[in-house]
Amino acid sequence: MADSFKSLKRSSAEREASQDSKRVKTNGDSETKMGSKPNPYLAHLNDDAASPLDDLERHKTTAFQASKAEDSDNNPWTGHPHSQQYFKILKTRRDLPVHKQRQEFLDMYHSTQILVFVGETGSGKTTQIPQYVLYDELPHLTGKLIACTQPRRVAAMSVAQRVSDELDVKLGEEVGYSIRFENRTGPKTLLKYMTDGQLLREAMHDHDMSRYSCIILDEAHERTLATDILMALLKQIAERRKDLKIIVMSATLDAQKFQSYFFNAPLLAVPGRTHPVEIFYTPEPERDYVEAAVRTVLQIHASEPEGDVLLFLTGEEEIEDACRRISLEVDDMIRESDAGPMSVYPLYGTLPPHQQQRIFDKAPDAHRKGGRPGRKCIVATNIAETSLTIDGIVYVVDPGFGKQKIYNPRTRVESLLVSPISKASAQQRAGRAGRTRPGKCFRLYTEAAFKKELIEQTYPEILRSNLANTVLELKKLGVEDLVHFDLMDPPAPETMMRALEELNYLACLDDDGELTTLGGMASEFPLDPALAVMLISSPEFYCSNEILSITSLLSVPQIWVRPNNARKRADEMKQQFAHPDGDHLTLLNAYHAYKGAEQAGEDVKKWCHEHFLSFRHLSTADDVRSQLKRTMETHGIEFISTPFHDKDYYTNIRRALLAGFFMQVAMRESSNSKVYKTVKDDQLVMIHPGTVVTSPYDWVVYNEFVLTTKQYVRTVTNVRPEWLIEIAPNYYDVETFEKGEIKSALTRVTEKIRRRQAMKGGR
C-alpha cells in the first residue's frame, strides 16, 4: 500500500490550488480538535505526508477529519485519484440522516466496546456505519479487518457493491464480500460484508475472531439463527478480547432487549426518512382474506390519489392468483369507469431475478393526457417486509398473514404454514407505506384482533429450527455447555435433545456429547449434518462423485421449473430424466444431462429453458459442487465412481443415501396404500405429488418431511429394509422400536438376514 501512496503525490500537487479555498473555510474549528498534532493544512508544504489518513489517530478520529479525507482528490485507500462519480455519490451520502450524527456516533464508539445502533430503514446505516468505522479503525495500520454481517446473501453482495462504489474501489479488493459458496475478498480487503452464517463458519477456526478489530451485526432485529448464535458468541469473546469492538444494528425500536443482553450497552438512534402512515382496520373480521385484499386494492385504485400499492400475501400460488384477479378487475374498471391503468407485479423468493427486478419499473402513465394517473401494484410475500425497499409505495394492504417455517422436534416435522404475523411485523409492513410521502395502511382485520390475536414479536429463527446443524457448529466453536449457553432466546429443550440425539446416531457426537472425528469433519462442510455425513461416507459405497452431485442439488432450490401455463409439458420433460426408483436419482440424471449439454457446447440457458430446468439453480449447484469438492479434497475424501453401466450403479447411490438419511425413512402402512408411516415417529404421511417414483417400494428414504395442507415427504427414493439394518444398525436396533407394524416388519427382515447368513456360514 505504501507504494500506491507515493504514486499519488504528483496529482495532489496539481490540485493544490483548488483545495486551498476549501481549507480556509474550515480552518477555525479544526484547530481545536486537532490539538497538538501537526497542522494538516500545511500538508502540501511537506512532500512526505502524502496520505490524507496520515493525520488520523486510531480511535481518536473526528467526523471532520474523516470528511476531509473523503474530500481529498486522491482515494486514501488506494492512492488513485477519485472519479467524478465518487464525488457525486459523496454528495448524496452526506444527505443521509445518519451523516448528521457521525460525530455523535464516533464519540460513542470511542467510549464503549459494544454499541447498539438503531436506525430505521432508509437511514443509511448499512452502507455508512461500516465506512465511518473504517475511517476510525484504520485497518491498514493494524491489519485487522472490519466485518459487517447481513442475514441474506443478496444483501451482502449488493451492499458490498454499493459500498465499493461509494469508496471508489474495486469490489473484491478493499471492499469485499464472503457468502456461502462464494468468497470475493483479497489480501487488500479492509472491509468485508458477509452473511452471518459465514462469520460463524470462520469463527470455527478462529475462536477469538482475531482477524477482526470490529464486528458489525446488521439487521439484528431479524434474529436469524446465525445472528443469535453470533451474539451469544461475541458476548463471550468480548470478555476475552477487550480490543474487539462490536456494533449491533437494528431497524426496530425494541433495542432495549439488545441493550440489556449486551451488558447494558449504550444506544444510538438515528431517525429514518419516514413519513406518517395512517392505519385503517376493518370493522368486521374478513371471511376470505385474499378476496378482501383484492377488493381493497381495487377500492384504492378507484378512490385514492396517486401512489403505488403493496399487498402482502403468503405464497406463490396465492400471489399469482391475486395478480390475475386484480388485473382482470382493473381491465373492467378501465372500460367501465375510466380508471387509470395499473400494472400488477408478483414478488416472491422463487421468482427469477429478472422478473423480481420488474417491481422497480415505473408506474404506467395515464391512458391519455389529463386522464386518471396510472399506478403499480406489487403483490409480495414477506420478503418485501424488510429485505427489499421499493420506493413510491403509498398504500399498503396487510391481511395479516405470512408463511413461516416451524420445526417441531416432537414429530420432526417442518411445517410451512400460513399463520398470523406479529405486531412487530404488522408495524414493519405499515412502515413500507411511508417511504416517500405520508401513506396509508389498510389492515384486513379489526383493531381488537390486532390487539388480541397477534403476538408481539415474530419468533426468532432459533425457536423455529432444527438445531442439529447449530449444535454441531457450537461444538466445533468450542462451546461445551450447550444447556447454559447464553442465547437471547433459548430454544425449547426438546429441540436441543433431538439435535443431540440425531448427531449421536449420525456418529458425529459420542455418548458423552464429545465431537467425534466424523463430527469434526462434518462440521467443515457448510451442510446439514445428515448431508455432510452422507457425503463423507459416500466412498464406502463407490459413488462419491454422484453423491457429491446430489448433495449440491439438494442444497439449492428446486431445479424443476413448472410454469402455470405449461405444467403438462414441464411434467413430460421431467419424465425424460425420471428414474423409476427415486427423485434423488432423477435429480442426478437431470444434472448429468445438463453437464452433457454444456460439454457438447450447447447454449445451456436455452437448453435449460427447453427442458424446464432452472439454469440459475443448476449453475449455482455447479458452484456449490466445486466448493464442496475442494473441501472434500482437503480432507482426503476419495472420489470414486463405478462405470455408469455397472448394474449396481444406482443401487450404490440409493444405499449411500441411507448413510446420511437413515433417520428419514418411511414404511408403507399396508400394501397398496398411499399412506406411509415415518419410522420411530409413526406419523402418517403421503409422498408429495411432485415425485417421479411410479411404483414406490414399501420403504422409502425422504429428504424432507413437511406439513403444508397435509403431511408430505418430499424427494423420495426406494430403499430395501435390509439396507437399513445393515447401514444403520444402531438406529434400526429392533429392541428400541415400539410395538407395531414397523417393528414386526423389521423383525422379519432381521430374521431373513440371519437365515441367509446362517446358510452362507453352513456352506
Binding site: 374478513e286 378482501a292 384486513l444 379489526t446 444447556v483 433431538r498
Partner: protein, 364 residues
C-alpha cells in the same frame, strides 16, 4: 401381531397379551383393526367365564373380519382424520415423557440440565415447549375464527335451553302439539291485528295535522313505513311496537349485509374509516352530492334512533302469552277505532252494534 396368536394359549399368556394390547394402542387409534379383537378378548377373559375360550369357528370369523377391515381401503377423509389425530397426539406430548431413554437427554443432563428452560439466565418467562403448530385450512381472516367460535358457543347454549324446555312437557305431547298449533295461529292473528292497527294509526296521523311527525314526507306513498320508523319507537303504542321494531331490525341487518358484500369502502366511509377523497374544500353540499353525508333520510337509510335501546315496556308486553297479547290488541282496536278485528269492520257507533262480542269464539 395377530398372526402369532395361538388358538389355545395358557391363561397366563392370554393375560399378558391382554395387557400389551391395553398399553399399546388404546389411546392412540381406537377405531383401527385391533379394536374388535380387544373387545372380544376382554369378553372372553372375564374371570367368571374362565373356561370360555374362543372356538376355532369364532377365531376364523374374527380373523376374517379383521382381514376385511384391513383390506378395505380407507377413504381420503378417514386417512386425513387419522393423520391429523396421530399428529395432534404426538405434538401434544413432551419428548421427555415419550422418550426418556434418549441419549440426547442424557447428554443434556450431563451438561447440567435439570428441566426448565435452557440458557444462562433461566428466565421464568421463557417458553419451554416447542412452538405449537396450527394448520389453517381456509382463507378466513384474522379474528374470524374466534368470532365464529363465540357465535357457535352462543348458538349451542341457546339450543340447549330450548331442548330443555321442550323436554319438560314431553309427557303431554299431543297437548303441546295442539297448543303449539294454536299459538302459531294466534301469533299470525296477532301480527295481522297489529298491521291493521298500524294502518289505522297512520291513516289517522296523516289526517291529523297536530301530530308532529310525518307531515311533509307523508305525501309520498312509499314512505309510509319509513315514516313510522323515523320517529322514536317509544312513541308507538306498545301493542304494535314490537312489529315495527322487528321489521326495523331485519331491514337494518339486511342493509348491513348488503353493504358488507357490495361496498367495502362505502361502509368504511360511513364508519369514518376510509376517508376516500376527503377534500378539505368540499362543503356540505359537495358531500351530499357525492353521497358522503347522510342526507336526511332520503337516500341513506336511517334506522329508528332508539332501536338498540332497552325498552322495558315492550319487553313486559312481549313477555305476555300470545293469547293475552292478541286480546290486548283487539281490545285496543275496539277502544280506539271501534274496529272489530273478528268482524273486520269499523263500526260507526260507540256501542259497536252488530258485533257479537269481544272474543273469537263469539264470532263463530
Amino acid at each position: 401381531m395377530s398372526k402369532h396368536q395361538p388358538p389355545y394359549s395358557p391363561e397366563q399368556e392370554e393375560e399378558e397379551e391382554e395387557e400389551d394390547y391395553m398399553t399399546m394402542t388404546f389411546d392412540d387409534h381406537p377405531p383401527t383393526t385391533t379394536n374388535p379383537k380387544t373387545q372380544l378378548r376382554s369378553k372372553c377373559s372375564t374371570p367368571s367365564t374362565s373356561t370360555t375360550y374362543e372356538t376355532s369357528l369364532q377365531r376364523h370369523r374374527r380373523l376374517r373380519r379383521e382381514a376385511e377391515a384391513r383390506a378395505r381401503p380407507k377413504s381420503n377423509a378417514e386417512l386425513a382424520a387419522e393423520a391429523d389425530a396421530r399428529r395432534e397426539a404426538a405434538l401434544s406430548r413432551s419428548l421427555f415423557e415419550t422418550r426418556p431413554e434418549s441419549k440426547g437427554l442424557a447428554m443434556m443432563a450431563r451438561m447440567g440440565f435439570r428441566g426448565g428452560s435452557l440458557g444462562r439466565r433461566g428466565d421464568a418467562g421463557v417458553k419451554v415447549a416447542p412452538i405449537t403448530i396450527h394448520p389453517r385450512l381456509d382463507r378466513s381472516g384474522i379474528g374470524l375464527e374466534s368470532d365464529r367460535k363465540r357465535k357457535l358457543r352462543e348458538a349451542a347454549a341457546a339450543a340447549d335451553t330450548a331442548t330443555k324446555r321442550a323436554r319438560a312437557d314431553e309427557g303431554a305431547y299431543r297437548d303441546r302439539l295442539r297448543r303449539e298449533r294454536e299459538e302459531a295461529r294466534w301469533s299470525r292473528q296477532l301480527v295481522a291485528a297489529q298491521r291493521v292497527l298500524e294502518g289505522l294509526d297512520s291513516e289517522n296521523q296523516s289526517l291529523d295535522p297536530d301530530l308532529d311527525h310525518g307531515g311533509l314526507e307523508g305525501e309520498e306513498e312509499g314512505t309510509r313505513k319509513r315514516e313510522a320508523a323515523s320517529r322514536p319507537l317509544k312513541s308507538i303504542p306498545v301493542v304494535y311496537r314490537g312489529l315495527i321494531r322487528s321489521r326495523e331490525t331485519t331491514e337494518r341487518d339486511r342493509r348491513m349485509r348488503h353493504d358488507l358484500e357490495h361496498g367495502l369502502a362505502q361502509v368504511r366511509w360511513r364508519e369514518g374509516q376510509l376517508p376516500g377523497y376527503d377534500d378539505a374544500d368540499e362543503d356540505g353540499d359537495d358531500k351530499m352530492a357525492l353521497g358522503k353525508e347522510r342526507a336526511g333520510g332520503t337516500a341513506v337509510y336511517v334506522t329508528a334512533e332508539d332501536l338498540d335501546e332497552e325498552d322495558e315496556e315492550l319487553e313486559a308486553f312481549e313477555g305476555l302469552p300470545v293469547e293475552e297479547r292478541l286480546e290486548k290488541v283487539v281490545g285496543y282496536l275496539r277502544g280506539k277505532y271501534r274496529y272489530c278485528f273478528w268482524c273486520k269492520f269499523k263500526y260507526p257507533d260507540e256501542g259497536m252494534e252488530g258485533c257479537p262480542g269481544v272474543t273469537e269464539e263469539e264470532h263463530d
